[in-house]
């Protein structure tokens, strides 16, 4: 399966939007060659603002541009945007304006850079903000679709979380992202694995292994964390009775927590969450780290098998 960069897809799409709409403006904070906003910056230097290593200034300037009617994209690494939580709260979300944050280098897949750069709390931070939408795309195709969807349909704040690493391309070219709608990547009625980002391809691999053990796993790509697809979650709970969540993020306040909220309200079944368990990351290669933190394919297989066989007490042991 081929892999493609999500951030390069973002940079390309941004430049394409810039061709047709002069109101599209882009800000970055000295990371444009990494976030790929530099593609836009080179083509439209008068509408690209490199604010330097001044994330607060970037967010506030984005607010002013949006209040004056611009369609604003602002990018940096996920971990650095998190320092501007309060600027985002007051000046973006409270004003409820058209600023699209698209961050890169989120999660443990920044690998060797280590814990300082591996933010696994950001989905929780951003989801807590009124008016904010939070999206974790699964591949380059979904990234392109998300950017276009947000451009066409959303005039209020959003947070799109991308990564440094290339991810396997799982969607077809005609895929269309819809905010608040999940995609069923694989059908199955024994257990439902609700994942996003990097964890979707691991979940699909896990589902293939589970099949050999006689377990039919449904795999759902829940890229839209907020709003979340309640119907898909309730349906999965009702039809499978066993839910696993998998995210490259803390199991606190991320996808797993959101899914559990819906399940406990609407159709209580056992939910096992896979992700970072209240811990910082560490240096290592991106793909080694998933196993290190018990988030690899074998962990998904083991947890699915355990809860399917109602051996819930074993679900945590890999």
């Amino acid at each position: 399966m081929k892999s493609e960069s999500l951030r390069e897809a973002y940079g390309d799409e941004l430049a394409r939007l810039g061709e047709t709409d002069r109101d599209v403006v882009v800000l970055d904070a000295d990371l444009s060659s990494s976030t790929k906003t530099a593609i836009f910056g080179k083509r439209f230097p008068d509408r690209f603002f490199n604010m330097g290593i001044s994330e607060q200034s970037m967010v506030l300037t984005a607010a002013g541009l949006a209040l004056s009617g611009k369609k604003v994209f602002a990018s940096t690494f996920a971990v650095f945007l998190s320092r501007t939580y309060e600027q985002i709260r007051q000046s973006i979300c409270y004003n409820n304006i058209n600023v699209k944050f698209v961050v890169t280098h989120a999660g443990i897949t920044v690998g060797e850079d280590g814990a300082t750069h591996q933010i696994v709390e950001d989905v929780g931070i951003m989801s807590g903000l009124p008016n904010m939408k939070v999206i974790v795309p699964v591949d380059s195709i979904e990234t392109r679709s998300v950017i276009n969807y947000l451009y066409e349909n959303v005039r209020t704040p959003s947070y799109t979380r991308l990564t440094r690493e290339k991810f396997p391309v799982l969607n077809d070219g005609d895929y269309n992202f819809i905010l608040g709608k999940a995609t069923t990547m694989r059908d199955g009625n024994d257990v439902a694995i609700i994942a996003n980002g990097a964890m979707v391809s691991f979940s699909l691999q896990a589902a293939m292994e589970l099949k050999t053990k006689g377990i039919d796993a449904r795999v759902i790509n829940m890229s839209s964390v907020k709003p979340i697809d309640r119907d898909a979650i309730i349906k999965a709970a009702r039809e499978t009775g066993h839910i696993i969540t998998a995210e490259e993020h803390s199991i606190y306040n991320g996808l797993g927590s959101r899914v559990a909220e819906v399940v406990t309200q609407e159709y209580p079944v056992y939910v096992h969450r896979i992700g970072m368990n209240d811990t910082f990351g560490k240096s290592g290669s991106a793909w080694e780290l998933f196993d290190y933190f018990h988030m690899g394919v074998s962990n998904i297989v083991h947890a699915s098998e355990s809860i399917f066989r109602e051996e819930k007490k074993n679900a945590n042991i890999s």
């Binding site: 330097g52 506030l60 300037t61 002013g64 611009k70 000046s91 409270y94």
Partner: protein, 276 residues
């Protein structure tokens, strides 16, 4: 939309009405920030009744001048000026900080005439930078005004915005500093010394002017001078008196965030303002 050039006496009368509203609002709400509202009200009067091209009948005119009160706790000053200008009836001011009203404790975007929500310090100035950039992109000839507080400049984000204002040559941006020397916990130079702000900001590449922030002629001429800048943004340091116009509030940190404590003090404040 152009303002008739009001005389200094007429401006003084408007400030007086606004000062009375400020006291009524914080006394009515039993909370709020009179000190920094009274220190900046003369500047706001000049902006809204002499300098700014704004039209309460057409509040979203794309060519209008824009104002951001970065020190958003001085909401009583802005709300009273906006009502006197005609954005909404003056009797709505009594709703300040009350559940039935849009007049949030700190400046709220949903209030007619307000261009951005503010209240957490250090943010409105960066918002003004973004507005000034947008105006340049659209070749607009409007002016972007921002008022910041002198305690507020302890926020690092303010200095990020000074850097950005220079980099992008935002000569359409005029920032006015309410230099009243007092913040919530006491005197600015005790809490966190800022010393010679003029030198600091000049070294960031800005034009800097210093004036008496209660002298209408000086406020007017400083703004006119700022508008002549060919390249760089301007900071006007307005030396002011916190609590200006109410003797027991003047230069008293206590009244940064407290209303008159008794009806006697309330009436005394109104009397002093009326007789000034």
């Amino acid at each position: 939309m152009n303002n008739v050039a009001l005389s200094v006496d007429e401006l003084r009368e408007i400030s007086k009405k606004a000062r009375l509203h400020i006291i009524e609002m914080v006394y009515g709400a039993k909370s709020g920030h009179p000190g920094g509202s009274l220190s900046i009200i003369d500047v706001l009067t000049v902006l809204y009744f002499r300098e700014m091209h704004v039209d309460p009948v057409n509040p979203s005119d794309p060519g209008r001048d824009l104002f951001v009160l970065s020190k958003g706790h001085a909401s009583p000053a802005l709300y009273s000026i906006l009502s006197l200008k005609g954005y909404f009836p003056e009797d709505l001011l009594t709703g300040f900080r009350k559940i039935s009203s849009k007049l949030e404790g700190h400046v709220h975007y949903g209030v007619p005439g307000v261009e951005a929500s503010t209240g957490s310090l250090g943010q409105g100035m960066g918002v003004g930078v973004g507005m000034a950039l947008a105006s340049k992109l659209d070749d607009k000839k409007n002016w972007i005004y921002v008022v910041i507080g002198d305690g507020e400049i302890e926020e690092g984000s303010i200095w990020e915005s000074f850097m950005a204002g220079y980099k992008y040559r935002l000569n359409n941006l005029i920032v006015i500093l309410d230099r009243n020397m007092i913040q919530l916990d006491g005197f600015t130079e005790d809490i966190m010394p800022m010393m010679e702000i003029k030198n600091k900001v000049e070294s960031f590449g800005w034009n800097v002017l210093e004036i008496d922030g209660h002298n209408y002629d000086e406020i007017i001429s400083a703004i006119e001078k700022a508008k002549k800048s060919k390249e760089y943004p301007t900071l006007i340091i307005a030396r002011t008196v916190k609590g200006k116009g109410v003797s027991y509030m003047e230069n008293n940190p206590k009244y940064h965030g407290s209303p008159p404590e008794s009806e006697d003090l309330y009436l005394k404040a109104l009397k002093e303002i009326r007789e000034n």
